[in-house]
């Protein structure tokens, strides 16, 4: 066997383990899906009337739910960060990572399994979310190509956040700490972006932050694709941000993995 086939086999083993974990203990995944679903219902039914009125031209004449769902899609991916960080942290604090590090196992395999599992979960969660969204009146105007682009962006975004979450899970001292350290990614960054309302409706300081942070181009491009508006260069900006986050998370995670529990 060559190094590459061994590496692929190890990564497959680890992905299989991660998926088995998810299937055997589905509550974490259910929780991960439930949060954005509740957000969707809350913002659409309870706050949506007022927010929708205030949106004006930004909604392009469509109901608020069409504006909201792309943002909730991003929240769904971000919501998985806690799950990933928790799983990675359990391996770290439980000694699994040190065990693997003393074995002749391809170095990146364990984390690749976690990231792969995280992406699979994100795709499942976003699919469920879109199903619920359709039930509550979401009417996307995306072509097949648009949907493929949406899939690409969701996948890229979830790979990026998974590597970041893996790093956060590795450096956290406890499971609770691991989950806590992802909360800004799960909630703060989505709220301080164009997830629920356009960035230019925010107060000046926040508006600048919202306009320049990575979540905004991701939401904006998802929204443009799903509502059939022109995407422009926003999608490239979104993918560039995903690449940067993935790279930072990846390097950070590798360093933390090599350090182990000490």
């Amino acid at each position: 066997m060559t190094t590459v086939t061994i590496a692929l086999q190890d990564a497959k083993t680890m992905l299989g383990r991660e998926l088995k974990h998810t299937l055997r203990y589905p509550l974490l995944l259910v929780g991960t899906i439930l949060v954005p679903v509740v957000m969707l219902l809350l913002f659409d039914y309870i706050l949506g009337g007022t927010i929708g009125h205030g949106l004006g031209a930004a909604a392009h004449g469509a109901p608020y739910v069409d504006f909201l769902v792309p943002g909730i899609l991003l929240m769904t991916v971000a919501s998985g960060c806690g799950h990933t960080a928790i799983n990675v942290n359990i391996d770290m604090t439980g000694g699994i990572i040190d065990r693997i590090r003393t074995m002749a196992v391809t170095r990146g395999a364990l984390l690749a399994g976690h990231v792969g599992g995280s992406v699979v979960r994100a795709l499942v969660a976003t699919t469920v979310l879109i199903g619920v969204a359709l039930l509550v009146g979401f009417r996307p105007k995306a072509s097949v190509a648009d949907w493929l682009a949406v899939l690409c962006i969701v996948a890229a975004f979830s790979i990026a956040l998974a590597w970041l979450s893996a790093a956060l899970g590795l450096v956290a001292k406890s499971v609770a700490g691991a989950n806590g350290s992802t909360l800004p990614v799960q909630f703060l960054l989505p709220f301080l972006s164009s997830t629920f309302v356009p960035a230019d409706s925010m107060p000046v300081g926040v508006r600048w932050f919202a306009a320049h942070q990575p979540f905004t181009p991701v939401v904006d491009s998802l929204r443009a694709l799903l509502t059939g508006e022109p995407v422009g260069s926003t999608a490239y900006l979104a993918l560039a941000w995903c690449a940067v986050i993935a790279l930072v998370g990846y390097v950070w995670a590798q360093v933390a993995f090599r350090r182990g529990t000490r």
Binding site: M1, R17, G94, G95, D98, R99, T102
Partner: protein, 340 residues
């Protein structure tokens, strides 16, 4: 081959390479050391954990690394098992330089850390399967080896349950079974009985003896003196990052005098009588006792009794053999006190 490759130079090259390999093999066989450590140092910031450790462990040997908490035992295991980089020193594990051939070392060793590292979300059997996959065993061998190990470690009934339902001893056994999946030639057991009840501890001891009987080299750390005495062929006493003594349990015990027969008498006259026939004894007139050095064993006891005869009335007799606690105390001045 000659017909295909007529160049002479190549022949010579091949020949010398073959020779080179066989010399290497000879050296490896001749040294027969599973682990050789010279001048190992490790510090975390300004806290010195290992201060020049030298160690050699022969193949097939059970080496006990004995020391109190904080002596540096886990750090040594961490370094030898490629988890932690050393600051200084040369380390060879099964003939491989740890610095340059860490990957090869990993394929030869098995590590059971101080805390059980099992996957609590998988069943016992799945944990073993996982190890088998990571060792790239073919499916048939993976299954065969898993059922062997489950049987050997008395885990058949627990195979389909997750370790969350296991006792501490069972989790430990699964942990070691997982370590054995890849047939390691050198096993590190870092405090394998820590936190186990006495019965599980004895089960674990027997498992370790069985492993040793298979010819596997074992580096065992413990803070239980009895455990090292029971299991190890040789013991290294680690204190504040240094090996302060090394040898077989008996050699270590011999290093401190103190094996003696303690005779207690009712009055000074009896003590006088005994001291006359046992001049090598040291008397304590206040306590009315006589300490007679004793090589150990029934023969020397019988000899002392014979020399005492019927004439001297002994009120009480007790035999004192030094245990490793005494050794540890004599060597370090602090028996089991935690070092910080």
């Amino acid at each position: 081959m000659h017909a295909l490759r007529p160049q002479k130079g190549l022949d010579i090259d091949l020949g010398s390479r073959l020779q080179h390999v066989s010399v290497n093999t000879l050296i490896k066989n001749a040294t027969r050391n599973a682990v050789t450590v010279n001048g190992l140092r490790k510090a975390y910031r300004d806290k010195v954990v290992l201060d020049g450790v030298d160690l050699s462990i022969g193949e097939g040997e059970v080496f006990g690394l004995l020391g109190p908490n904080g002596a540096g035992k886990t750090t040594i295991v961490g370094i030898l098992s490629t988890l932690i980089p050393a600051d200084a020193g040369t380390i060879s594990v099964l003939g491989n330089d740890l610095r340059t051939e860490a990957g090869t070392v990993r394929s030869l060793i098995g590590v059971t850390g101080q805390f059980s590292a099992v996957d609590n979300l998988l069943t016992g059997e799945e944990n073993l399967f996982l190890m088998g996959r990571l060792h790239h065993l073919p499916a048939t061998e993976r299954r065969a080896r898993t059922s062997q190990l489950l049987e050997r470690f008395d885990l058949i009934e627990a195979a389909k349950r997750t370790p969350a339902t296991y006792s501490g001893g069972m989790t430990r056994r699964l942990d070691i079974a997982m370590t054995l999946m890849g047939r390691p030639r050198l096993i590190f057991l870092d405090e394998p009985t820590a936190g186990l009840d006495p019965r599980s501890r004895h089960t674990m001891w027997q498992l370790i003896r069985d492993l040793a009987a298979d010819g596997v080299t074992i580096l065992l750390t413990t803070q239980y003196l009895e455990e090292a005495d029971q299991l190890a062929d040789r013991i290294g006493v680690l204190d504040r990052g240094r090996i302060v003594a090394e040898g077989t349990p008996d050699q270590l015990k011999r290093r401190i005098p103190g094996a003696h027969i303690l005779l207690r008498f009712a009055d000074a006259a009896a003590l006088d009588g005994a001291a006359r026939v046992l001049p090598e004894g040291s008397r304590d007139d206040d306590e009315l006792v006589l300490r007679v050095p004793n090589e150990g064993g029934i023969r020397s006891l019988r000899d002392v009794l014979a020399r005492l005869g019927d004439g001297v009335a002994v009120e009480d007799l007790s035999i004192h053999t030094p245990d490793l606690d005494d050794v540890f105390f004599a060597l370090t001045g602090n028996p089991t006190r935690e070092q910080s």
